[in-house]
């Protein structure tokens, strides 16, 4: 190609240092057709932020569709957007105002594109909420305002657009202003400013309008220039969610992004899941000046001493500055799925780099979008907002959601790895005195609803066998395999029960009977929440196992972990057989108390024929056949 493109226009060169400052992201939100894209087009044009030829391009595209000039075509670059006059997906465009860099995020106003609105808005520092002064706040105005609160944007400028339709009448404009203020106050949002404007004509956008002489406040560009760009993250207690662990050239690196605080070589860090501590031996960088510290926002590679191996999702923090820890968490929710959310559904909760399996234990209140009040409801409607309680199988380390930080940014993901909601975590949930975590029979969510939510049926799998037969080991391995398969499974094992729930019981026949009864009751309650419960309990007596079956109901399998007494005694991992032989333990099954082997178990695992791993596979396969 021989032609050469022609020269460039000269604009004021900007100061290098200023250009190296980071850009402040500002999201433009509001109801569909209230003029968001037009506002941005006008803003870019009036502030000289458009490339040469762009206006001519827009004019041509507008003419083709029989329009005078359609500013929104600047951002609505997709054919479907131009043909239908609607923004489908959000766009980000760099924008310079005087000495400051911004990124303008154009978010779609249509309800069906809510997920795209959030995609655009989630990391903004401030928002411009565009309200058609003639129409006032509409459903998407309320929805977007609610979202601004939930995603943590606190700095809000309200642009009252199309005031030309109100003839720039001060009284009429103030009336709209009052109604919007009322709405935002309900959401505990305080707009920093109301700007009366006409985006199409450019009134009070980048230049003061002569048509609104009564308005003395800042025009839009002045309001944007006043947006604070304070970054508080570096001054908060240190947090690093582990992203990955690499081993290159015999050296191990723990990598991740510092979300808060600062770190120095030599600092002591607690590794969340392990509770152990390690020292930062080095902060490694490639092709960069060596520095002994790093702070919030940096992606780092750490060498720890001792050479511990955290896992992805592990939280690193300074000792004595631990985050919250709870298995029950209250959370706000913005729900993005097209079907309602119901109690009992199970998701993966992504929190920074961690992932936890959680169940929606309760829906505590749901927001009514027509007046923003809350109400009781047993479901969250599509694209609705609610406060919910999530329950996890293990305690989760987290910091409660806080605007301006990345704390508590929970995201719910379904079985197909789809993001279905955002869940800013509020804090640990406690059970009110006298209330029950689980609905008694006749609860509001049926077993079949839970099964649908989880994608599998609930079941109690009862492992019986001698002490040392390998019940708990097989149960734990199977639990892990089921979990990896997306099955909500848990293990109740004898020793654990005796540590807490049954700590008052001994080993007499009556106490053993009571131990079995309690275990069966707990298993039943867990199964009612939709889980697969693997019980690992010696349960030596046929009659007691029969009782367990009656308590748990029909979805019950008796699994005989059959290891010969000789093998168990030889293993004697806990030293119990020796103690029993020496008479130090009374009523020891197989030695001084009977073990009644099941006559007809639902599954018979001859455990000393294979290793624990193979036995776990046998058990897992059996369970999967039963629950799918």
């Amino acid at each position: 190609m021989s032609e050469t493109l022609t020269a460039t226009t000269i604009i004021d060169p900007i100061d290098r240092d200023v250009a190296l400052e980071s850009a402040t992201p500002i999201v433009i939100v509001g109801h569909v057709d209230h003029g968001k894209s037009t506002l941005i087009g006008r803003l870019l044009y009036d502030t000289n932020n458009l490339e040469d030829g762009k206006v001519a391009q827009i004019l041509e595209s507008s003419k083709k569709r029989g329009l005078a000039i359609e500013w929104s075509f600047l951002l609505d670059s997709l054919q479907i957007e131009r043909d239908q006059g609607v923004t489908v997906d959000s766009t980000r465009i760099p924008f310079r105002l005087g000495n400051r860099q911004f990124v303008i995020v154009d978010a779609p106003g249509h309800r069906q594109f809510l997920r795209n609105m959030i995609t655009g808005a989630a990391d903004a520092d401030a928002a411009v909420l565009v309200v058609d002064a003639n129409e006032g706040a509409q459903e998407q105005t309320r929805r977007h305002a609610m979202l601004l609160r939930l995603i943590g944007i606190r700095h809000i400028v309200v642009l009252l657009n199309k005031v030309d339709l109100l003839d720039f009448d001060e009284q009429k404009v103030r009336a709209v202003e009052n109604s919007v203020t009322e709405l935002l106050t309900q959401l505990e949002l305080t707009p920093s400013l109301f700007v009366p404007a006409s985006a199409r004509d450019g009134d009070n956008i980048a230049s003061r309008s002569e048509r609104s002489p009564w308005y003395k406040g800042p025009i839009l560009t002045e309001a944007l220039a006043a947006v604070p760009d304070g970054n508080i993250r570096a001054t908060l207690p240190f947090r690093l969610p582990v992203q990955d662990v690499y081993r290159f050239d015999d050296k191990r690196y723990v990598v991740g992004r510092i979300e808060r605080g600062t770190l120095r070589v030599g600092d002591e860090l607690t590794i969340g899941s392990q509770g152990s501590t390690a020292r930062v031996a080095a902060i490694e960088r490639w092709s960069a000046p060596e520095r002994k510290d790093a702070s919030a926002g940096e992606s780092v590679a750490l060498v720890l001493e001792p050479d511990v191996i955290p896992a992805r999702g592990d939280f690193l923090f300074a000792p004595h500055q631990a985050p919250e820890k709870s298995a029950r968490i209250r959370a706000n929710l913005f729900w993005l799925r097209q079907e309602p959310l119901r109690v009992g559904e199970t998701f993966r909760l992504r929190l920074a780099t961690a992932e936890h399996q959680v169940t929606v234990a309760s829906i505590d209140s749901v927001v009514r979008l027509d007046d923003l009040t809350t109400q009781q409801s047993d479901e969250v409607p599509p694209e609705g907002f609610a406060e919910i309680t999530l329950v996890a199988g293990e305690a989760i380390l987290f910091d409660p959601f806080s605007p301006g930080t990345s704390d508590g940014r929970g995201v719910l993901v379904d079985r197909n790895q789809r993001i279905v909601g955002g869940a800013p975590l509020l804090g640990p949930a406690t059970l009110a005195a006298g209330s029950h975590a689980i609905h008694p029979s006749g609860g509001e969510v049926s077993g079949s609803e839970r099964a649908r939510g989880k994608g599998h049926k609930a079941r109690v799998i009862w492992l019986t066998g001698l002490s040392g037969a390998g019940k708990s080991t097989i149960a734990r391995l199977a639990e892990r395999k089921l979990w990896a398969d997306g099955i909500d499974a848990c293990v109740l094992d004898g020793d654990t029960l005796r540590m807490g729930l049954c700590s008052d019981l001994g080993f007499t026949e009556a106490d053993r009977h009571e131990n079995v009864r309690r275990a069966a009751e707990v298993a039943r309650i867990l199964a009612q929440t939709g889980q697969v419960v693997i019980v690992a309990l010696i349960s030596p007596l046929e009659a007691d196992r029969g009782l367990a079956r009656r308590i748990a109901g029909v979805a019950f399998d008796e699994v005989f972990v059959d290891t010969s007494l000789a093998t168990c005694e030889e293993r004697d991992s806990k030293g119990l057989y020796r103690a029993a032989r020496e008479g130090k333990i009374e009523n020891f099954t197989g030695i001084s108390a009977p073990y009644e082997a099941p006559a007809k178990p639902d599954l018979h695992i001859i455990a000393d024929k294979s290793n624990a791993e193979q036995n776990a596979v046998t058990l897992t396969d059996y369970i999967l056949r039963k629950i799918r």
């Binding site: 490339e51 670059s77 980000r92 760099p94 990124v103 959030i118 992606s299 993001i419």
Partner: protein, 264 residues
């Protein structure tokens, strides 16, 4: 942290997410300035190495300087270079305008590479400020079995939580440079000392601002023959970067059609 530090940290985070979650993974290397920056960022992320293959989908119509650059830096940077080739233009959609039809060869070549290596992740160096449809992209952009970009149905992406492939045949385009602007790329090249093909620098009053196939790429008038001069030129320029890329401008929807079909 200044603006470049922030961009670098975010890109490193994205590359590490991709490396952790997508297997097999590869990075596209067009030999242009953006993909050189991308390789540099990968070396930042992985302590000096690029732990996955680097792929060049070769139209065999690049400038000779670009091939020379490729061979030199494959060795210097110790890259696992994989080459892909593009079918002849006659096999491309005849309803596309001529330059777009020529560019579509690259889409086909890329699709063949993805199939051949059964890639789950493809890292590409596109930026939002280059072109309107690229501005609507996700950092992790899922592509179905036909490699099509479903622009009406992009997944939500917020709080650094990215889409993950959940079924066979789906691959993810990873875009670590999405938030970078052209000027950021140049300032980073200057700061880090990243080598570039010298076609970017003016000779006889002309230079290339964006590099593609020889027959559908035009130079601009410029006297900027050093990095500092290019940066100064860009600071005062108002024409679009891709003005010299013919396939963007033949018709309003030409580039969108290319991208929906799987072009970068």
């Amino acid at each position: 942290m200044d603006h470049l530090d922030q961009l670098e940290a975010q890109s490193v985070f994205i590359l590490r997410e991709a490396y952790r979650k997508l297997k097999p993974l590869a990075m596209l290397w067009s030999l242009g300035k953006d993909s050189n920056v991308m390789i540099w960022l990968a070396r930042k992320a992985f302590l000096g190495r690029v732990p996955f293959p680097v792929m060049h989908v070769d139209t065999e119509k690049k400038f000779p300087e670009m091939y020379k650059f490729r061979d030199e830096y494959t060795k210097k940077w110790n890259l696992d270079l994989q080459l892909g080739y593009c079918p002849p233009v006659e096999e491309m959609d005849p309803t596309l305008p001529p330059a777009a039809r020529s560019a579509a060869r690259k889409t086909a070549g890329l699709a063949a590479m993805i199939e051949k290596h059964k890639l789950q992740g493809v890292i590409a160096g596109i930026r939002r400020d280059e072109q309107g449809t690229r501005a609507k992209e996700r950092v992790f952009s899922p592509r179905g079995a036909s490699h099509k970009w479903d622009i009406r149905n992009q997944p939500p992406e917020f709080w650094d939580q990215y889409a993950t492939p959940h079924e066979d045949g789906v691959h993810i385009r990873v875009h670590p440079l999405l938030a970078w602007r052209e000027i950021d790329i140049w300032r980073y090249v200057e700061r880090e000392g990243i080598p570039l093909v010298d076609l970017y620098f003016a000779r006889n009053g002309k230079r290339y601002r964006s590099l593609g196939d020889q027959d559908i790429t035009s130079p601009i008038e410029s006297n900027a023959s050093t990095l500092a001069e290019v940066i100064t030129e860009l600071e005062t320029t108002r024409t679009s970067e891709r003005a010299g890329r013919a396939m963007d401008h033949e018709s309003e929807d030409a580039f969108e059609r290319l991208r929906v079909a799987g072009y970068l």
